[in-house]
Symmetry: C2
């Protein structure tokens, strides 16, 4: 180990340990903690967040990091950690520790307030908290903005380094121009796709059993991971030998199934990070968009592909004999790809999904950079759903209160979901030239695809940025057109359109 | 808040947050964490332990604490925290931080090594680790010993302040003198107590359902607590609104049932701590012995009392109809009180239990103060079982490897189990003068007993020491005779002896 880096190492270990503790509290809170624990546990989380802040942002660490940055002999992993640390320091340095701590406590409580407001279908109960969260985030972004940089660009950059409103306006411009009319054509098509057989009264145990099977089939390693239940499915990790996913069970057999495949995609990313990078500042996925590219790749591009189900559909039929016993593989695959405008982003099909994200992007931009007020959000939300999806939510539970993100203070996160789909489509276009993806899936050789993604993406953790990964993998910078082409081809065929 | 104390408060919050994180990792590791997570998670735990050590044991904190100790205007809770902190500082101050951290990492790994060695019935696989643990503990005790103080006394004092080998030699002397012959008389008695109906093939779900019912009946509040499964049942807590118990399920219906009542006793203690004390250094039970007094009071003195089951035995019969459907309440109660010398401490009946502890006390004393070597432990263990219980373990899994404690570095802990039973018996003798315990139990008014214990014990957390609590509650210092009398009366009646 480089000797200057060696002096920094204990400080890095401290950061990682505090971060791991915060991750574990978050996991525990979402999956297990008793109902009345919240308020007192928030104090702990607030204090640990403050400790993390202090561990990153202090003079000794800054000096050591700057000294390391001038070193020649650092390994790739060491240099990556120093780079990330300096970025993190410059991020936090701009924010007074007290405000950061207040904000952590606020968001810990905000999630509970949002949960209750959503259950009660009561936007007003959440609005004052949301206003505070936005105030903090605008203030933090202003503290952090480089000269002339817009606040929302600062936020976007946290989730997707290398992307800005300029690039995203262009990306969502293409989506708006191409996908809104494509959806219209789909809706006007005469093709009927029955999917009522996906609904039923399933037990949690029944869904869990097949869910665990599918997670393992896709590649989730239960000796290095855990699956649990939470209100909102997510993936988290302590390191590359402890990666955790959650799901929830309901009345549609495809809902938990594809949510598990989605989270397994995230999990594979974290399980695939190199041993010398895990438990370091570069030991996680490159960006939110790159992470979503993996989860959505497994969920949609592979998981909703007919070939994926060839080796395992019989097993699925056996798990749900009353519903799928008499349904052909083709009918099943058509059903899980049916495009239907709906209110809920997380339940959306591949086609309408990007429009849900488009709406959030436009609203966030307007909240942060424009003059949209929190009190006017429910109306603005409903207007956009009517415009792009042709449906108007009747209540806030299925409208503006559906997502957890804003209560956690995550603004600029949503675009990553659509970017992830678009990254995935670009990778897929390239991979099809390298290997026969359908044949591999049909032969149950999903591990070949998994290994390929591990080799080109997962292993590097945060050593490379998303555009760099794309360029090295596909030979091109990011292009939205692959995504639009993918959707047009898939839905054109499914609904027999002339696109 | 006192202004000197106010300056100390953020440091105290930091300690409590780090401690809470360590508690959560411990819980997670025992109940959920994936098999291969261990090694990397241990690094996190090691770092956080070091942080905790540094948070307690640093010059600023020491100065502030000493300044507080000289203050007049501290509240009872504030003064208690300062006292505990100074004790903790003097404890840690004596140990070099690096050794403390090495020890934490060692014990985190030691538990896994012990678990495997136990499963493999292989003492040699654990012996080198145990030797290291003992070396650390002897060294730490030597660092900490006051002039002329014995190392094992230092250890005992960690779990039971105010108790020493002198007092315990006397206590275990009475046990040896009175209980060994009592057990002999029981074994020679002609009374047959059938208990085969307690054994069967029960599902985990079946046991869990009645277990949750009983926990709630005894007073466990599931809105402030969680119940899970682990290899070795335990109770832990983050604060008085997040108290967690574990159990395990097997082939004896009484095993998980009474283990749940036992852990609920521990949990009630933590749930009953005053709001102004929780999340502080005085926010937990007074001592291990006082904790065990509560768990064993609920498990044995109440839980194995016929009156306890009067309101709920029908429910239990319904949960296990094949086994208990035709068994009378009297036969059930006799069965769960049957005294049978066995190898396993945690499965022991009330009568033989103290002899299991006596054995461990004598062995620990000999390991720490005498010349017993780790390599000779299995033999020494077996000899003592033969001497006091009349049975000789054939393998180390059921012998010296059965308990987790030594792998965690806990020496001086075992005596607290017997002390707890003895504290409970002394309390019970006094309580029976204050209230009709049997009648309350028969009428399902267990809350009256719970409230009484909360008022006299639980609410105070660590503000009082165990002997102080006993004195204030019963008007007397600790006396072993109550315990012996309780066992003689109970088992004399059960086995129709002349004692």
């Amino acid at each position: 180990m480089n000797s200057v880096f060696e002096a920094l190492k204990p400080y890095l270990d401290r950061m990682m340990a505090l971060k791991a503790a915060l991750v574990l509290f978050e996991w525990d809170d979402a999956t297990l903690a008793p109902e009345k624990a919240g308020e007192l546990t928030e104090k702990v989380i607030g204090t640990l967040s403050g400790e993390y802040f202090g561990a990153v942002n202090n003079e000794t660490v800054k000096e050591l990091a700057e000294k390391c940055a001038g070193e020649e002999g650092l390994s790739e992993a060491e240099a990556g950690q120093v780079r990330e640390l300096l970025e993190e320091i410059s991020k936090l340095d701009a924010i007074p520790q007290k405000e950061y701590q207040e904000f952590s406590q606020l968001t810990a409580g905000a999630v509970r307030i949002w949960t209750k407001a959503k259950a009660d279908n009561d936007f007003d109960a959440f609005a004052p908290t949301l206003e505070k969260v936005i105030d903090f985030q605008k203030r933090f972004a202003a503290y952090r903005a480089k000269e002339g940089q817009k606040k929302y660009d600062v936020m976007l950059n946290d989730f997707e380094p290398g992307f800005s409103m300029e690039l995203l306006d262009e990306f969502f411009g293409v989506i708006k121009k191409e996908i809104v009319p494509l959806l219209k054509a789909v809706q006007e098509s005469k093709v009927e796709i029955p999917n009522d057989f996906l609904t039923g009264d399933f037990t949690d145990e029944q869904q869990e059993e097949i869910g665990r099977f599918i997670a393992e089939y896709v590649g989730f390693d239960f000796s290095k991971g855990v699956m649990a239940v939470s209100a909102h499915p997510f993936t988290t990790n302590l390191h590359n030998r402890d990666v955790r996913i959650t799901t929830h069970y309901g009345k549609n057999l495809d809902s938990s199934l594809f949510s598990i495949i989605h989270e397994t995609g995230h999990a594979l990313y974290e399980l695939g990070v190199r041993d010398d990078l895990t438990q370091t500042l570069v030991g996680e996925g490159a960006s939110m968009g790159m992470h979503e590219s993996q989860s959505r790749f497994f969920e949609n591009i592979l998981g909703r592909n007919r070939s994926f189900w060839v080796p395992v559909y019989a097993k699925l039929q056996k798990a749900f004999p009353d519903n799928l016993g008499n349904i052909s593989l083709d009918d099943f695959v058509r059903a899980v790809n049916k495009a239907t405008p709906g209110f809920i982003r997380t339940e959306a099909d591949e086609l309408t999904y990007s429009l849900h994200v488009l709406i959030r992007y436009e609203l966030e931009k307007d909240l942060i950079e424009g003059d949209l007020q929190v009190k006017d959000l429910p109306e603005a939300w409903a207007d956009k759903y009517e415009e792009y999806l042709g449906i108007r939510p009747e209540n806030v539970r299925e409208g503006v209160l559906q997502d957890i993100h804003w209560s956690q203070g995550s603004f600029g996160y949503f675009p990553s979901y659509a970017l992830g789909s678009a990254f995935g489509a670009q990778m897929y276009a390239y991979m099809k030239k390298e290997m026969d993806v359908d044949k591999l899936l049909e032969e149950g050789k999903i591990s070949v695809i998994r290994d390929y993604l591990k080799e080109h993406i997962h292993q590097y953790g945060k050593l490379k940025k998303s555009r760099e990964i794309l360029k090295e993998m596909t030979g091109e910078d990011f292009h939205a057109q692959y995504y639009v082409d993918y959707l047009k081809e898939k839905y054109g065929e499914l609904y027999r359109l002339n696109v």
